[in-house]
């Protein structure tokens, strides 16, 4: 067979996710594309490379979609991996700030104008 195009590794996706396609666990249930993930530990030897990479890149909050893009893994696979990290307490998920809780534009404008008048 033709060789050389070794873009992908020899491992297949199902081994990376351990055969799971859906994140289990309560904490993982609300993992959204825009859920922010932040690591709660540092990469340790013995972790799977993908877990270590997530922990490394999530020292600063990162959305699930971004993690998926950086790892070049499908979102479902990333969700599975994140669920492992969440279950192990190595990472924390933060729901995005809901739009309703943001102060409305008028208030912000008023504040801005007030500041400008100072």
């Amino acid at each position: 067979m033709s060789g050389g195009e070794a873009d992908d590794g020899p491992e297949r996706m199902y081994v990376i996710t351990g055969g799971r396609s859906e994140a289990g666990g309560r904490a993982a249930a609300d993992l959204d594309l825009v859920t922010l993930v932040v690591a709660r530990s540092v990469p340790e030897p013995g972790m799977a490379p993908e877990h270590a990479a997530i922990v490394r890149m999530c020292q600063y909050p990162l959305s699930v979609a971004e993690v998926s893009a950086y790892l070049e893994l499908p979102v479902s696979a990333v969700r599975v991996l994140l669920a492992d990290l969440l279950a192990g307490g190595r990472a924390e998920a933060r729901a995005p700030v809901p739009a309703a809780s943001l102060p409305d534009a008028e208030l912000l404008e008023a504040v801005m104008h007030g500041l400008q008048r100072l």
Partner: protein
């Protein structure tokens, strides 16, 4: 016999005495009778005596002659017998040599790939000494060699057919795996579809391993080749990817090394077969533990299962399967061999210098230890740089987006300028500052500029003289000196230099002429 033939040589020296003795006796008797009888009867008696003496003399002479003949014949016979016996012994020796030395050697040479003609020629040089036997022995040899060669050829063609089929299956599986990977990315957001795709992907990988096994047993290498070193962790997970019960495999303490590209695929395949054996012959609820640790001679991969283990006899049988595969296996054995995997592992181990040992495990199961020699190991490739979102610059796609519009209106112009080989003046003229701008490709990497893009650069000053340089050859002398970037120029100059005829200025002048004519169009 020879000795028995020699005594007659002694009596032969005195035959006159021996064979004349009866005649002498008869003659003496006759003389006695003549003396004894009366005178009247003497004459007849004398005649009778003479006749009898003559007759006896004749018979005795004849007898003696025949005796000599018999002796000669007997001696000749004895010599003949001796010759025959010697030849018989020689023939026996030659036949034994044919059976014990020549034929096995000929078969061995045939199996090693020599042609039948070569083997026969080599055998003819060491043929029997006796010319009478040589043709017969050659005939025997030729018959056997032909038969063996035909069989070898049959086996070769069968193996080629197997490899061919395996390669086709591998190609399909490989394509399928690539497609599936794309689909997994495309449908990654739907867990149900993603799960189904993973399921199909797994099944495809199992087919691929079977095809790889057939290829290996037929004497070819397993399917893929990796151009870059593969980390040990990926090798082990790649092996896990190809077995049915990969979820039962635990990876512990994997050494931070990589396997060089050419050895990666055989290693993955051999480990997959060992993992398959470990998971297949242990209860489904038990785990299989895998570790890869550094040892003096390389890396030792240990695969331990919690199965029933193998008795000493079974273990010996398995080791025998490993070693027999090392010595080469028949395709005939493919049919019912339950542990096909061990044959594959043995063959790969022999070809790539791994050593595999099966030992009782501390978990009462089997512990397979594969030692990978250090010469196929290398350091880990540098990990992919992890983006640091907290620090500037922001994530990857960002820098390309603002950069895109700026060269957007200029880069095509520059490209046109390139293709028109400097005919378009405006392009370079409104790009004096953009010359230093580094373009980025879609992945945010700086893109190498084509050197030809710089060609028009000196032209704003030199183009106007070049336009009316057609008539006056030497006038734009500085212009060729500042024009080192025309594509293919260096090659033309090189060729001119090699030919030893053209002065260096001749070629630029020709190019300028082309430019001018382009301008004229």
């Amino acid at each position: 016999m020879v000795r028995t033939g020699t005594p007659p040589a002694g009596p032969r020296s005195a035959p006159p005495l021996v064979w004349m003795l009866p005649a002498a006796v008869v003659a003496a008797c006759s003389v006695g009778a003549v003396v004894a009888v009366q005178a009247a009867a003497r004459v007849p008696v004398a005649w009778c005596g003479a006749a009898a003496t003559a007759a006896v003399l004749l018979i005795a002479g004849e007898t003696a002659r025949r005796g000599r003949t018999v002796t000669v014949l007997r001696r000749r016979q004895a010599e003949h017998d001796a010759t025959l016996q010697r030849r018989l012994a020689e023939q026996e020796a030659a036949t034994r040599r044919l059976a014990e030395a020549l034929l096995p050697e000929a078969v061995l040479r045939l199996q090693n790939g020599d042609t039948a003609a070569e083997v026969l020629r080599a055998a003819a040089q060491t043929a029997a000494k006796d010319p009478d036997f040589t043709p017969a022995h050659q005939a025997v040899l030729r018959t056997v060699v032909d038969a063996v060669a035909a069989e070898e050829e049959l086996r070769d063609s069968a193996q080629r057919a197997f490899v061919n089929i395996a390669r086709r299956v591998q190609a399909i599986v490989h394509q399928q795996a690539q497609d599936l990977r794309e689909m997994e990315h495309r449908h990654g957001e739907d867990p149900a579809v993603f799960g189904d795709l993973l399921h199909i992907d797994h099944g495809t990988a199992l087919i691929g391993r079977l095809a790889d096994s057939i290829a290996v047993l037929s004497g070819a290498r397993p399917g893929r080749q990796w151009s870059r070193p593969v980390p040990m962790f990926s090798v082990l997970r790649g092996a896990m990817s190809r077995i049915l019960d990969y979820q039962r495999v635990d990876l512990h303490a994997v050494a931070e090394v990589a396997v060089v590209g050419p050895a990666a695929e055989p290693l993955i395949h051999a480990l997959a077969e060992l993992l398959d054996n470990a998971t297949r012959y242990s209860p489904p609820q038990t785990r299989v533990h895998v570790s890869a640790t550094e040892v003096q001679s390389g890396i030792a991969v240990e695969i331990e299962d919690g199965g029933l283990g193998m008795g000493e006899e079974a273990r010996e049988r398995a080791e025998r399967a490993l070693s027999r595969a090392s010595a080469g296996i028949d395709l005939d054995d493919l049919g019912e061999t339950p542990r096909l995997g061990l044959a594959v592992v043995g063959r790969l181990a022999r070809a790539y210098g791994f050593t595999v040992a099966l030992r009782p495990s501390a978990y009462a199961g089997v512990r397979a230890v594969m030692v990978i020699p250090g010469d196929v190991l290398t350091t880990l490739p540098p990990p992919r740089p992890v983006p640091r979102p907290g620090t500037m610059p922001p994530p990857r796609p960002m820098p390309t987006r603002p950069a895109q519009p700026r060269p957007g209106d200029r880069a095509p112009a520059a490209a046109q300028a390139v293709h028109a080989s400097g005919a378009q003046e405006p392009g370079p003229q409104d790009q004096p500052a953009g010359v230093e701008h580094v373009e980025h490709n879609a992945y945010g990497l700086p893109q190498r500029r084509r050197r030809t893009a710089g060609a028009p650069r000196p032209r704003p000053g030199g183009a106007a003289p070049a336009a009316h340089a057609r008539g006056r050859g030497p006038a734009p002398a500085p212009a060729p000196a500042r024009e080192p970037v025309q594509p293919g120029m260096w090659l033309a100059a090189f060729q001119a230099g090699v030919n030893g005829e053209a002065p260096p200025a001749a070629v630029p002048a020709r190019w300028q002429g082309d430019d001018s004519s382009d301008e004229g169009q």
